[in-house]
Symmetry: C2
Subunit: 284 residues, 2 copies
C-alpha cells in the first residue's frame, strides 16, 4: 500500500458524500484536499481535521497537486467543472466520481477530457437522509455496494485502482457494470422506489394518521424525505429508464387492482406467493 | 388490579398473535387457556408454559370458564365459531379480537351474539414476518399501536376494559376509532403498502439485482414476504376501501410519471418538497 502515503486526493464538492470520502481517505492515511462552494464548508472541514487543505474557489495549485480527484458534485455542475478546469489537472491524474446516473455523464466527460488523464466512473450506493459535510460519516460505506462503470476508453489499471478505492473505503461489495446496466438497475432499485415513496406521501393528506402508523408505512416512506434538487436532476437524467420501470410497476399494480376488484382470491394469493418467494432471495 | 388474578382468559386461535397474547397475559398473572386447531400447537404451548390448559377441539368446559375470550382467528372462521359455539360462553363474558378489518366483522358478530355477553373489537397493529405460536413474542406489542373499534352496542365499561387490555399488554399507544375510520386508515397505512411491496417484487424478475440492492429497496419490500391466505382475505374483506386507496395512489403515481415524461423539473421538486414536509411528521 505504498501508494497511499504518496497520494494526494482532491475532493471536489464537500457535501455528505464528499465529506464521507474525505474522512475515509484521511483515516487511511492519504493527504486529502478539497474544493467547496462555500467558505464555511472549507473552514468546518479544516477545523474538524476532515481535510488537510481546501479552498472555496478554483485553486490551480490544489488541483495540480492531486494524483486523484473524486468528484462529488451534481451531474450538471460536474461537466462544467471539467470543461472549465481540466487544464489545471496533473498529467496522469485519475478522476472518479460518485454520481448516481452514468450514461449521461461518463461518455461526455471521457469525450471532452485531456488524453493524459483518465476518468473512471463509480457509484457508491450509500447515503443518508441528511446533508452537508457536518453529517458526513465514512461508516455509511461499510454495509453498502460500490459499482464501477468502465467504458472502452478505460485502462485495466484505472479500473483496478477504482475498485481498490471502493475496497479500502470499506464497501461491502464492489462490482463492475456497464453504464447502461447501471442506469437500468438504479432506475428500478433506487429511482422507482423513491417515486413510490414520494407518491405514497403526496397521494392524500395523511398527517392525521401519524398516531396509527406502524412499521410498514414508516419503512415504505423513509426515503420520502428527499433532496428535491438532486433527485429531480437524477430522475430527469435517467428519464427513459425510469419511465420504463414506472410503466412496469404501474402495469403490475393495475393487475393487483383488477384481481382485487374481481374478487379473485386465488389470483391475489399467487401474486403474494411469488412476491414472498422472490423477496426471500434478498434476505440472503 | 384485583381482577387479574381472578380472571380466566381463553385464547381462540394460537398462532403468532394468539401466542403473543397468551405470553403477555401469563406474564401479567392471568390464568390463560387456549383452543387451537392442531394438537401439536396445544402441546407446544403447554410444554413451554405459554398456557395453563388447552384443547385442539371445542371444549365446553374451557369455554364456559372464561371471563374473557380473545379471538385470534382469520375473519371468516371467527364468525363460524361464534355461530356454532357461543352457547358455551359464560354469561357476562367479554369477547375481543385481533382482526385486521373491522366493518365486515364487528356488526355481524354483535348482531348474532347472545345478549348476555359483549363483543368489543380491537386491532393490535403488531406482527412479524413469521408465523405460529413458536414465533410468538409479547414484545411485538411494546412499540405498537392498539386500536379499539366500538359501536353503539358497546358499553362504556367494556370499552374501558378493552383499552386497559391494550395498556397492560404494553402497547405504546391505545386509540379509539369507529370500524369505518379503522378500515379506511388500515386500507391506506397497511393494505396499500402491502399491495405496493408485492407489486414491486412481482413487476419484473429482479433476482439478478440482489447484489446491488441497497436499503431503499429492502425497506420497501420487507413486507413483500406475506401470508397469502391471511392477506388475500383481509384485502377482499376491505375491498372498497382498499380500491379507493389504490386509485388515489395510482392517480398520484401517474402524475409523477407525467411530470417526468414532460421534463417538468419544478413540478417534480414540488412533489418532493411536499413529500419531505409530510414525512417529517412521521418521525416525531
Amino acid at each position: 500500500m505504498e501508494w497511499i502515503s504518496k497520494s494526494n486526493v482532491l475532493i471536489v464538492g464537500l457535501g455528505l458524500m464528499g465529506g464521507s470520502y474525505a474522512k475515509g481517505l484521511k483515516r487511511l492515511g492519504f493527504r486529502v484536499t478539497a474544493l467547496a462552494r462555500r467558505r464555511e464548508t472549507v473552514d468546518y472541514a479544516l477545523e474538524h481535521g476532515i481535510i488537510d487543505a481546501g479552498s472555496d474557489s478554483i485553486d490551480p495549485k490544489l488541483i495540480g497537486e492531486a494524483d486523484a480527484v473524486v468528484f462529488a458534485l451534481y451531474p450538471g455542475v460536474f461537466k462544467e467543472w471539467i470543461r472549465d478546469n481540466q487544464k489545471y489537472l496533473k498529467p496522469g491524474a485519475r478522476l472518479t466520481d460518485v454520481t448516481g446516473v452514468k450514461r449521461c455523464i461518463v461518455y461526455d466527460i471521457q469525450a471532452m477530457l485531456r488524453p493524459d488523464v483518465e476518468f473512471i466512473a463509480a457509484h457508491p450506493m450509500a447515503g443518508r437522509e441528511v446533508y452537508g459535510v457536518e453529517n458526513s460519516d465514512e461508516r455509511i460505506f461499510f454495509n453498502a455496494n460500490y459499482i464501477v462503470t468502465p467504458t472502452d476508453k478505460n485502462t485495466p489499471e484505472a479500473i483496478e485502482w477504482c475498485k481498490d478505492l471502493g475496497r479500502i473505503l470499506g464497501f461491502r461489495k464492489v462490482s463492475v457494470l456497464s453504464p447502461e446496466e447501471h442506469d437500468e438497475m438504479i432506475g428500478f432499485l433506487s429511482q422507482l422506489t423513491h417515486c413510490i415513496a414520494v407518491s405514497l406521501m403526496t397521494c392524500s393528506d395523511n398527517r392525521h394518521l401519524v398516531d396509527y402508523t406502524g412499521d410498514s408505512f414508516r419503512d415504505l416512506t423513509r426515503i420520502a424525505r428527499i433532496n428535491d434538487a438532486m433527485w429531480s436532476e437524477l430522475f430527469l437524467l435517467n428519464r427513459d429508464d425510469l419511465l420504463k420501470q414506472m410503466d412496469l410497476f404501474i402495469s403490475e399494480f393495475g393487475e393487483m387492482r383488477r384481481l382485487l376488484a374481481e374478487g379473485d382470491a386465488e389470483g391475489l394469493r399467487e401474486k403474494m406467493r411469488l412476491s414472498t418467494e422472490r423477496r426471500a432471495y434478498f434476505n440472503k
